[in-house]
């Protein structure tokens, strides 16, 4: 990705999963951006990027939902998203979804301004984080879409490595899907269970107290499985983890 000059103002697209299940992580992302002197705008009219219907074969429904977001981000300010998967939907798939539609140009313009949160923190803001937390061992779960649609691989680990008291132990199979896959988890519950089972075993193998991730679909899946299996490790969104570290709790 090509870095852009640091803007004074950014838009924040929170995503529906953050909205419903991880609002504190969403808020932490906003505060991280604010702590760098940015004005963060959260358009209240936002809902979802449209990915669930898009991936299920219902493109017209996906288009309707995506279209409802288009006018919320006027101007040129970057749009920061605390999810690699939703950011990937907007950046990579919106241009296809709107192809041939009257508002295609607008969709392409909006898509081009989308950044995944850690990508933005590293490449645009070049943040330096001071760790005030207790020593802890963590591992990083890379979401498939962050890695392969947004090209976010090293950024979150770069941020975690800035934290003096955080020991990052990488997963053996960091690149392997956790088995969420949206409706896949309920269409193929047994395969999904086997996949998250392997992921949980990998996490346990690191001895990490926390597994940090940038995507809430994966987090719902992984934390749900960790809890159900009464495992010691806990899952957390990277925005919330970073915020807690720099505030010392």
């Amino acid at each position: 990705m090509s870095a852009i000059p640091k803007p004074a103002r950014v838009y924040y697209f929170g995503t529906c999963l953050v909205d419903l299940f991880f609002p504190d992580a969403g808020m932490a992302g906003i505060e991280l951006l604010q702590s760098q002197g940015l004005t963060v705008v959260f358009p209240q009219g936002q809902s979802c990027c449209g990915q669930p219907a898009y991936n299920s074969g219902y493109r017209a429904d996906a288009l309707k939902v995506a279209r409802a977001q288009l006018d919320l981000f006027p101007g040129d300010d970057p749009i920061v998203v605390p999810s690699g998967s939703c950011a990937g939907m907007m950046k990579k798939h919106w241009p296809d979804l709107f192809h041939g539609e009257p508002d295609e140009a607008k969709a392409v313009q909006v898509a081009a301004r989308v950044w995944e949160l850690t990508q933005f923190l590293v490449h645009v803001l070049d943040v330096r984080l001071a760790d005030k937390g207790e020593p802890v061992r963590v591992t990083w779960h890379a979401s498939c879409h962050a890695q392969r649609e947004m090209g976010v691989v090293e950024e979150p680990k770069t941020l975690l490595r800035q934290l003096a008291n955080v020991e990052l132990v990488e997963l053996k199979r960091e690149k392997e899907c956790c088995g969420f896959g949206g409706t896949f988890a309920v269409r193929h519950p047994e395969i999904s269970a086997a996949m998250v089972g392997d992921k949980v075993a990998d996490i346990e193998g690191t001895g990490a107290a926390r597994v940090v991730s940038g995507d809430c679909g994966c987090l719902l899946n992984i934390t749900g499985a960790l809890e159900a299996g009464a495992k010691a490790a806990r899952g957390q969104h990277i925005a919330q983890f970073l915020k807690e570290r720099i505030h010392g709790r």
Partner: protein, 474 residues
């Protein structure tokens, strides 16, 4: 689901319940992935050679009709008899005709996925012709009475112990020894006698060169060379997409294929077959036939987006890297082509009525797309097939077969909720306040909570928090 449709969900449950199978795949695929990664440690080289191979395949597809004509002309000039088969039934009939004409009793075969697609072995056996697979992996699955579980490594689902047990049961005088070298040697001795006695040898084709009329066949065991040179008649089978334009297009393909598949720099054998034995030559078959199979490929070719499916060089790397395939193995798909490429190719060949569930057996993680040596947009095609299954454009056989009024209503309701800020606010408020009371026995939650705790609604949404904290709206 109709009575004939393979039930992937049920088959995968069976596979997942077999710890031996899961262990075999996990170990094998982990090994293959690291071997492949070692081959492409130089990212720049990978980018370059991959772009080259993709462009070779794209160029071939861009002039496919013309190249196929040129291929036929040049093969014919080389003395290779070219046959065209629109369907697998036609291809089988062509094979039987040749076999009957030469009064064949015994056929030896090298690896060929197209013949798996044709169920050729069953057809030949029904006709009373003995057919023997000579690729070690194929030989093992044939002995075992099963089908290949991987397009490159057909017996990858079995370990040495299981193979030793199988050989002991099926091969006369076999010793019970879990020793790969012994088992290979045993198979070799059985096969060697058959190569010498066979009336016809059969093979696949990795690439057919239009400008020279050459059939390229890569392999590791020498069985391909035996099948194509020892018996008096050789019949090669290829899907019509396997043609490349020039001889110089072959190296990128035959280099990337084994590097992607098994992490080998090159296969042990590279066969370039350019016709039957010529006067004065001391070896080679008397007749060489090439059967070119369509079986739905020309329909795939007709759609510019789906056409990319035909770039495939059948390396199988997508299987090795697929988190679903590595859990359930190849048999669960009950298809000649399992894994990611199977999930896009088989529904297009066999239709969405029978195979409409296949494109959903995928988390869309894109691991396959990342490593595909010819850059097939597998997941995009997967998404397109999901659309075709419910909203047909006419491009795919049995389009609309999975259309469901209930599902359509659910998505339409979802869209109405998410496209209106007021409706969204009301719905998220209701979910936040009441969602946690939903019983785990509800459909979807039931599947979810088998191995996970229920997702917990946070009570206040990010919309609520941002309003409370005065985060600007515009």
């Amino acid at each position: 689901m109709d009575g004939n449709a393979p039930d992937f969900a049920a088959a995968s449950r069976t596979a997942l319940a077999d710890p031996q199978l899961r262990g075999n795949f996990r170990r094998a695929m982990d090994g293959l992935m690291s071997k492949r990664a070692a081959q492409f440690a130089d990212a720049g080289e990978w980018t370059g050679v991959r772009a080259l191979a993709a462009s070779v395949r794209l160029r071939a597809l861009s002039k496919l009709p013309e190249l196929l004509e040129t291929l036929e002309e040049n093969c014919t000039r080389n003395g290779i008899t070219v046959h065209w088969a629109a369907t697998t039934a036609e291809a089988n009939a062509i094979a039987l005709d040749i076999l009957h004409r030469v009064d064949a009793k015994l056929v030896v075969k090298g690896k060929s996925m197209v013949t798996e697609e044709m169920h050729l072995n069953a057809v030949l056996e029904k006709d009373g012709i003995e057919v023997l697979e000579s690729d070690l992996g194929e030989y093992i699955v044939q002995l075992d009475g099963t089908m290949p579980s991987h397009i490159i490594m057909p017996a990858i689902h079995l370990n040495t112990k299981q193979i030793a047990h199988l050989f002991k049961r099926k091969i006369k005088d076999a010793e019970s020894r879990e020793d790969a070298a012994y088992l290979t040697d045993l198979a070799r001795r059985v096969l060697r006698a058959k190569f010498q006695a066979a009336d016809v040898g059969m093979s696949g084709v990795n690439a057919a060169v239009a400008e020279t009329g050459t059939l390229c066949l890569i392999e590791n065991e020498g069985n391909g060379r035996m099948c194509t040179t020892v018996p008096p008649v050789h019949i090669a089978f290829m899907g019509l997409e396997k043609v490349v334009e020039k001889l110089e297009d072959v190296p990128p393909v035959i280099s990337l294929l084994p590097r992607s598949a098994t992490g080998q720099p090159i296969t042990t054998y590279v066969n370039m077959i350019s016709g039957p034995r010529r006067p004065g030559e001391k070896d080679g078959p008397r007749e060489v036939h090439l059967v070119i199979l369509d079986n739905g490929r020309s329909s795939i070719y007709a759609d510019p987006e789906l056409r990319d499916t035909l770039r495939c060089i059948r390396c199988g790397a997508c299987m090795n890297h697929c988190p679903v395939y590595t859990k359930v193995g190849g048999h669960a798909y009950e298809a000649p082509y399992p894994g990611p490429i199977g999930k896009i190719l088989v529904p297009q060949i066999e239709g969405l009525e029978k195979r409409g569930a296949m494109p959903h057996a995928c988390t869309m993680c894109n691991a396959c797309v990342e490593i595909c040596p010819v850059k097939i947009p597998i997941v995009e095609i997967m998404g397109r097939l999901r659309v075709e299954a419910v909203k047909p454009s006419g491009a795919v056989k049995d389009g609309g077969a999975k259309a469901s009024r209930t599902e359509a209503m659910v998505w339409s309701g979802w869209a109405a909720m998410n496209a209106s800020p007021t409706a969204y606010r009301v719905a998220t408020l209701a979910m936040s306040k009441l969602g946690n009371a939903a019983p785990s026995s509800l459909p979807m939650l039931r599947e979810w909570t088998n191995v996970r705790t229920k997702p917990r609604f946070a009570g206040r949404t990010l919309h609520d928090l941002t309003r409370a904290k005065g985060v600007p709206d515009v």
